[in-house]
């Protein structure tokens, strides 16, 4: 009954006019960045962050969450109509979604994607509710030693498991950690790696790095492509019916399976929503009685992965809210934002400010309803965004990036830093170095260092504290196993190829 009391408390705040408005703005903006190719939630949230500093924290977080799960809705529209995924997690939707559009079934594809996203978003939020309290309670037992081990686990999983090359993932993680040490040390006030720059004494802002690595590099990639391909045409949304009863029936079980798969994959750090969509697609093909229709416009191939995508996004919020540990680039940005607003997500937040947490959770139910409306009857309006000339789109994005970076602390220095990270990000993309581990390490680095130092201060310099406490030992064992596994996997793949 605790749960219902908390939830009604959350709803009572979430339905205030102001919070509803921010929820709507977040969902709307999220859909837009989802639809626009090349601009994902990382960039969308980063650009917007500086102007949210003055908002009340609850409204700001409701809006960010709306952007976060809203972008998962919009991504499918682009996949279905243009065959270009708006985000990596919408790649799978292209397989059958675009085929459906060519066959004149664009409406059914869009509808099943939106309904599946709604289904998954809603039920995954229920799962968050059920899981949040037990995990937060477990988190209360954590000492700095456990936190350090948990952060190490999150970083290694993102760095090594989710990438093609664990060595490159490791490299990116280490560079991110190194960048996090730049600036003044919190405990002693000593300055590290500032090289006399007053701006570096304050440290390197993760927003600058995020916009550089994710947005500026994307614009460079687009600049490179434009000479080669030119612009793409989109399929039209035609037909009278959105979705037939038969199609909805075919979609239902994929929704359920996609939601379960997505949520489970999403809760784990490192995996993220993209593998969840591939996994769901594979499962749907396997259980289907007509696997030969996959890739030729099978509605299950849209319904499953789209549900998995949204469920994975919601699942990733579980470790973020309950333990304060993000498992992906987007949730890392959100953690950074939380800290700017003066909120430390984690077990204590559930104890100290339940109204805050439950308002956010309640707003997710509302946000998903808003998104269903935005993405079903109003999808035509968003599809028009795809007709925007790429030249104008990317130039405006660029301008938003610069103004966003500049307004963090009114420093031209940061604009230069953004350009440098943009160039670095471009080469990282070209040569398969993952950007997400770098960003995650930058955001988590300081927490990790503080955890390490506090743990050792508490143990009077005894390093065995990390292996004598059972939870910490368990986390470190999993860390070790995941690193070993990812390296063995690569080595085995190599020897098979020989």
């Amino acid at each position: 009954m605790d749960l219902l009391a908390n939830l009604s408390l959350g709803f009572s705040q979430a339905i205030s006019l102001q919070n509803l408005a921010y929820c709507f703005i977040g969902a709307l903006y999220g859909t837009v960045i989802g639809v626009l190719p090349g601009i994902g939630p990382v960039v969308g949230i980063s650009i917007l962050l500086p102007i949210t500093f003055s908002l009340p924290p609850v409204s700001a977080v409701i809006m960010l969450a709306g952007i976060y799960y809203g972008s998962a809705y919009g991504g499918s529209t682009t996949s279905i109509l243009v065959n270009t995924p708006g985000e990596a997690s919408a790649v799978v939707t292209c397989f059958d979604g675009y085929q459906m559009a060519i066959q004149g079934r664009a409406k059914a594809a869009l509808a099943t994607a939106a309904i599946g996203s709604f289904f998954a978003g809603t039920f995954a939020t229920v799962a968050i509710m059920l899981l949040a309290m037990p995990i937060a309670r477990l988190g209360l037992k954590f000492t700095p030693a456990e936190y350090f081990s948990l952060l190490l686990l999150a970083l290694t999983m993102v760095g090594t498991l989710a990438t093609e090359s664990p060595v490159k993932g490791l490299f990116a993680t280490l560079v991110g950690l190194l960048l996090s040490t730049v600036g003044m040390d919190l405990q002693t006030g000593r300055v590290r790696f500032a090289f006399g720059s007053p701006w570096l004494i304050e440290g390197i802002d993760f927003i600058v790095v995020a916009i550089g690595l994710f947005a500026i590099s994307e614009i460079l990639v687009q600049a490179e492509k434009i000479k080669k391909y030119g612009l793409q045409k989109r399929e039209q949304i035609s037909g009278r019916y959105w979705i037939t009863r038969e199609e909805l029936k075919q979609s239902f079980m994929p929704y359920v399976r996609g939601t379960v798969i997505g949520f489970l994959v999403g809760v784990l750090p490192g995996a993220g929503s993209t593998p969840a969509t591939f996994f769901s697609y594979a499962v749907e093909k396997k259980v289907s009685k007509h696997p030969e229709t996959f890739g030729k416009g099978a509605i299950e191939g849209v319904a499953g992965p789209e549900s998995a995508n949204n469920a994975a996004n919601q699942g990733a919020l579980v470790p973020l809210l309950t333990l304060g540990i993000p498992g992906s680039a987007t949730t890392a940005i959100m953690l950074g934002a939380f800290m700017i607003y003066g909120i430390q997500p984690g077990p204590l937040l559930f104890e100290k400010d339940p109204a805050f947490v439950w308002t956010i959770i309640a707003s997710m139910y509302i946000g998903n309803i808003i998104l269903l409306i935005l993405n079903l009857p109003l999808v035509n309006i968003f599809a028009k965004l795809l007709d925007l000339p790429a030249a104008l789109l990317y130039s405006m994005v660029l301008a938003f990036c610069t103004v966003g970076v500049y307004s963090i602390r009114f420093a031209v220095f940061d604009v230069f830093l953004m350009i440098i990270f943009g160039i670095v990000g471009y080469f990282m993309r070209k040569h398969d170095y993952p950007a997400a581990p770098l960003l995650l390490a930058l955001v988590l680095g300081e927490m990790m260092e503080q955890g390490l130092r506090r743990a050792l201060t508490l143990s009077n310099g005894d390093w065995s504290v990390f292996v004598t406490r059972p939870i910490s030992l368990g986390l470190l064992t999993v860390t070790f196993l995941s690193v070993t596994y990812s390296f063995v996997k690569v080595l085995r793949k190599r020897s098979l190829n020989h």
Binding site: L178, F193, M396, L398, E449, R453
Partner: protein, 169 residues
Amino acid sequence: MKETEKRKTLFHFDCIVALASIPIALFLIHNEYNTPNPSIQQTLGPSFMPIAILIALILSAPLLFFSSLRTERKSGDDAPLPAEPPSKTSAEQYKVMGMVVLGLVVYAVILTPAGFIISTTLLIAWQTQLFEKGKWVRNLVVSVLFSVGVYYLFVHVLKVMLPAGILAL
């Protein structure tokens, strides 16, 4: 086939990254080591973490180096050469990207003296021109409207100060 081609160009880049990271890391360790620490008694001082990360970086550099060598040898075994042209970035493409970066650098330099509206108008006009030649009237109109609109939004609605520059006079 395409994969092999990609691997081949990868080889140089990864080796350069691996080799360059060692002296840079050594320099940073040296730099950190020679910075005087405050006299506060601490179990782990502020130097520990950066130096540990840098040592890990140095240790992983050979891993990166050898993993790129192995993929290189493998692609060398794959004969005959692919028929399709390699997807290498052409000089012209690098030029366009260079121009994008140049536009950004000029923007950063003139932002404070010239002000937000002028520099942003120039930036957008420049970028749209790079992405889509011709149509410069449309592009210019969009740039001006966009810059003025964003300036108004930030300064008057969101109360975020942006440099006014020479237009303030």
